[in-house]
């Protein structure tokens, strides 16, 4: 039983860390109805500020902690001012996407400053452990618990007894009434971002010391955990966020105890989905309908798409098809093959995110399903590759639609969170379902592309296959968009209430759109698998989902040609300029931020 006590203690400690992240998210959501996806990056920044102070400057722990809180609070203020305030009045999803852009920029900024190598951040506390029953508690555990308690107490005091704290609460309850009392709601926003960032940074420092390990890639998981904890507790509910965090920490810890550490995140995301579907207002809210948000579900700027003449498109396709005949084009072919596969992903995403208005952040999951389906059908069932790829498309269409089904009843940013969770779940199921997927070993020796007896593994052949599939699926999608289906998808995006009043069954058309989208994404994943010859559960991560969304926004939401242009621009241009990987991520983040701010309709316009 001593182990159980240890697991409980561990769960509570981890829960405390999540709480420091989630409380900030809840405060921000309460005041500005925004999910701050940059929270994890601030957490990482906190860890590195702490590392700099402790390891380079040799500051004592209290000074380190103070420096982290102040440094991150300043960062939070800058994020609010530069990234978010200019977006006041845009669709609600716009600032959410902006925080994703900010997180890319911050993460890559840190990576350029500190290099991607992990670092150790030893705890300066004495190494003693107290025996409690059959478990033990160390000094650091006590520090983390104390930090959690003290932060909660200070926050409680601030909200309850200070003038500014009252303004924060009043703004969260009714910002227009608060303004009528003379509250400067911009100042309130700034304060809340500073608090959230300070606590988030502190959380990063403590985690770094707890595991004696920090690196610049830990942001995303931290954001996810904070968001999950907050959804469990109810968006914007500060005590709920603390309770949700502890519950999440315990669930994970017990899950790890029962099934092993690779299940940790699976538990977190399954819990997320269950809560989102059954109690979208969180476990602690009364069971009530979600507040309706008419016309805010989508990030669609009113614009008319550019009408690109058909002959121009045909000429471009022809030129692209002739490219392999140019001498010395091997490198360009490789880059463009990759671009065509990304373009397939982008047209898939633009259908649901742009045309249907369901901003999915889980498309990496569809790629994984397609890749594994085709690889396993070819390897384990002996299906020829030219059959396994379309089969993978159908499998992805069916499975992807079924998995996304629970999110059909959600709206706006809840869709994004749910699909993000679904995407993560796909990766984690692949990791853990060893009998089918070979687990963490991945699938090796995926056969190359063939058509009947013709080997297609030369760079030229791969290029043509990818291009041909892209052209085919792109034409199909354009054709669909010209029928009543395209009209119906767009109507659902613009106003689902009015669409239902016209007799549109939302489930049916969302299902159709996700099926078509899943087919294209599955094919893209499948072809990639055969080109890479090795895949594992991390071949496509949520970062790929975000990158695809950036391409879609760049090209113009819902615009098929725009998606292709976005994909070529974001995969091709960095190659042309020979940017290293870190700078590429930085560029993606900046592109996302700038597009949202200055050209939300994208290059070719929303369609």
């Amino acid at each position: 039983m001593g182990a159980w006590l240890d697991y409980t203690i561990n769960g509570l400690i981890v829960g405390n860390i999540y709480a420091l992240l989630a409380v900030g998210l809840a405060l921000i959501f309460g005041v500005s109805h925004l999910i701050n996806f940059a929270q994890g990056s601030i957490y990482t920044a906190g860890a590195f500020i702490g590392w700099t102070c402790a390891q380079r400057l040799g500051t004592p722990l209290p000074v380190t902690m103070a420096a982290v809180v102040l440094g991150c609070a300043a960062l939070g203020v800058v994020i609010e001012r530069v990234g978010l305030r200019p977006l006041a009045g845009s669709a609600r999803i716009a600032p959410l996407l902006a925080t994703i852009g900010i997180s890319f920029v911050l993460d890559q900024g840190l990576q350029l400053l500190y290099s991607p190598d992990p670092r150790s951040l030893p705890s300066p506390l004495p190494a003693w452990r107290i025996q409690v029953g059959r478990g033990t508690i160390g000094a650091l555990d006590i520090l983390i618990a104390a930090t959690g308690l003290v932060s909660a107490a200070v926050l409680f005091g601030f909200l309850r007894f200070s003038r500014l704290g009252w303004a924060v609460r009043a703004t969260a309850q009714d910002s227009e009434a608060a303004r009528q009392m003379g509250v400067n709601t911009d100042a309130v926003n700034r304060t809340v971002f500073a608090i959230a960032a300070g606590l988030g940074g502190l959380s990063g420092l403590l985690v770094g010391m707890y595991y004696n390990h920090i690196d610049t890639a830990m942001s995303f998981q931290a954001t996810l955990k904070g968001v999950v904890a907050q959804v469990i507790g109810g968006m914007g509910n500060v005590p709920g966020a603390i309770a949700g965090s502890l519950l999440l920490g315990l669930t994970e810890s017990y899950g790890v105890a029962l099934f092993g550490s690779s299940y940790r995140n699976l538990f977190a995301f399954v819990l997320l989905l269950i809560v989102l579907v059954l109690r979208p207002n969180g476990l602690f809210a009364g069971r009530q309908a979600m507040s309706p948000e008419p016309l805010t579900g989508t990030f669609i700027a009113p614009s008319r798409p550019w009408d690109v003449p058909r002959w121009a498109v045909a000429v471009c396709v022809l030129l692209a098809a002739l490219l392999p005949f140019l001498p010395n084009s091997a490198y360009a072919l490789q880059v463009l093959t990759n671009a065509w596969l990304y373009a397939l992903l982008a047209i898939s995403l633009t259908l649901v995110a742009g045309t249907l208005g369901q901003v999915s952040l889980g498309h990496a999951g569809l790629l994984l399903i397609g890749a594994y389906a085709s690889a396993l059908l070819a390897l384990d069932s002996g299906l020829p590759v030219w059959l396994s790829i379309p089969a993978a498309g159908f499998v992805t269409a069916a499975l992807g639609t079924a998995l996304t089904w629970p999110a059909f009843r959600l709206r706006s940013h809840y869709v994004s969170i749910a699909t993000l969770g679904i995407g993560e779940i796909v990766g984690l199921v692949i990791l853990n379902w060893e009998s089918l997927t070979h687990g963490p070993m991945g699938v090796t020796g995926v056969p190359p592309l063939t058509a009947g007896t013709v080997e297609l593994d030369s760079p030229q052949a791969s290029y043509w296959v990818a291009l041909a599939v892209l052209v085919l699926l792109g034409l199909m999608q354009s054709r669909l968009l010209g029928t009543h289906l395209g009209r119906t998808f767009r109507a659902i995006r613009d106003d689902d209430v009015a669409a239902r009043a016209c007799g549109v069954s939302l489930d049916r058309y969302k299902g159709l759109a996700f099926a078509v989208s899943g087919f294209a994404a599955g094919i893209s994943g499948a072809i990639s698998a055969h080109l890479y010859s090795y895949i594992n559960n991390e071949t496509f991560t949520s970062q790929v989902s975000v990158l695809a969304l950036t391409m879609v926004i760049l090209g113009g939401m819902g615009n098929v040609l725009g998606a292709v242009i976005g994909a070529v621009a974001l995969t091709g241009l960095p190659e042309v300029f020979r940017f290293t990987a870190e700078y590429r991520q930085l560029i993606y983040g900046l592109v996302l931020l700038l597009m949202i701010r200055f050209r939300p309709q994208g290059i070719l316009g929303t369609a």
Partner: protein
């Protein structure tokens, strides 16, 4: 603040055009509130009454026209800046901070003030003026009845020591007993020197206590005059229920 020298108008709206999206709400509207008066703005549904209050408070920016308060142009100012100049607001449907206590709500009303001792003095004064509020002082505002909430909303607005208090449908949804009480309180507040601008649908009630009234109909002032005259004017009925001649 000295009142000497300035004209009698505390608040003056002139040539106001506002839009809600593409729909025009006000058409070159003019309106004045004299110092020390109670002025009511009457009108049926969707006549633009509530938007008028939002224009005064800076929540809606007019596309044309100016709002002057105490002789100064406040048209472009932010809401907190307008509140800080001495305008108090009792919003439509009260809009209390439901999860905060009554006490916290009252003190939020004094948010722009720094004179702590005076705020405490006013706080005690409010408890005297609104005994019902005093009884519920530590309850969450959301748990109060509609009438009690209206009292809290009025006390909250007064805590800012406004020279002008703006009220949006203060009697809406209240039981007759509370309606009378609210009207008495508005008159009492006015006697203490606070000017009142009040938006009301219920014309007969509002005109009982007002000095001057305006009737708004689809964004245009259709009628105005001293309250006593307005109450007897048969045209006020047409402004709400439609003219007799058109009801063929």
């Amino acid at each position: 603040m000295s009142e000497g020298g300035s004209r009698g108008d505390l608040l003056e709206l002139s040539g106001i055009d506002t839009f809600y999206g593409p729909a025009q709400v006000h058409f070159a509207m003019n309106l004045e509130v004299r110092r020390g008066q109670i002025v009511c703005l009457l009108g049926g549904n969707a006549s633009g009454k509530s938007t008028t209050m939002k224009v005064i408070l800076g929540l809606v920016k007019p596309r044309a026209g100016t709002v002057r308060f105490d002789g100064q142009d406040i048209t472009g100012l932010s809401t907190p800046a307008i509140i800080a100049r001495g305008i108090g607001s009792v919003p439509e449907a009260r809009r209390l901070f439901g999860a905060m206590t009554v006490r916290e709500n009252l003190l939020m009303g004094a948010y722009t003030r720094r004179d702590r001792a005076e705020v405490n003095h006013d706080y005690d004064r409010m408890l005297g003026l609104f005994p019902r509020v005093a009884q519920r002082i530590n309850n969450r505002a959301g748990t109060l009845s509609g009438g009690e909430q209206q009292m809290v909303a009025m006390a909250r607005a007064l805590m800012g020591r406004p020279r002008l208090i703006c009220m949006d449908e203060p009697t809406m949804g209240l039981s007759p007993l509370y309606v009378d009480r609210v009207l008495e309180l508005i008159a009492a507040i006015n006697k203490e020197g606070v000017s009142v601008f009040m938006v009301e649908q219920n014309a007969s009630l509002a005109l009982q206590i007002a000095h001057h009234g305006y009737v708004l109909r689809t964004g245009v002032i259709a009628l105005s005059g001293p309250a006593g005259e307005l109450a007897r004017d048969p045209r006020i009925r047409d402004a709400y229920l439609g003219g007799e001649r058109t009801a063929a």
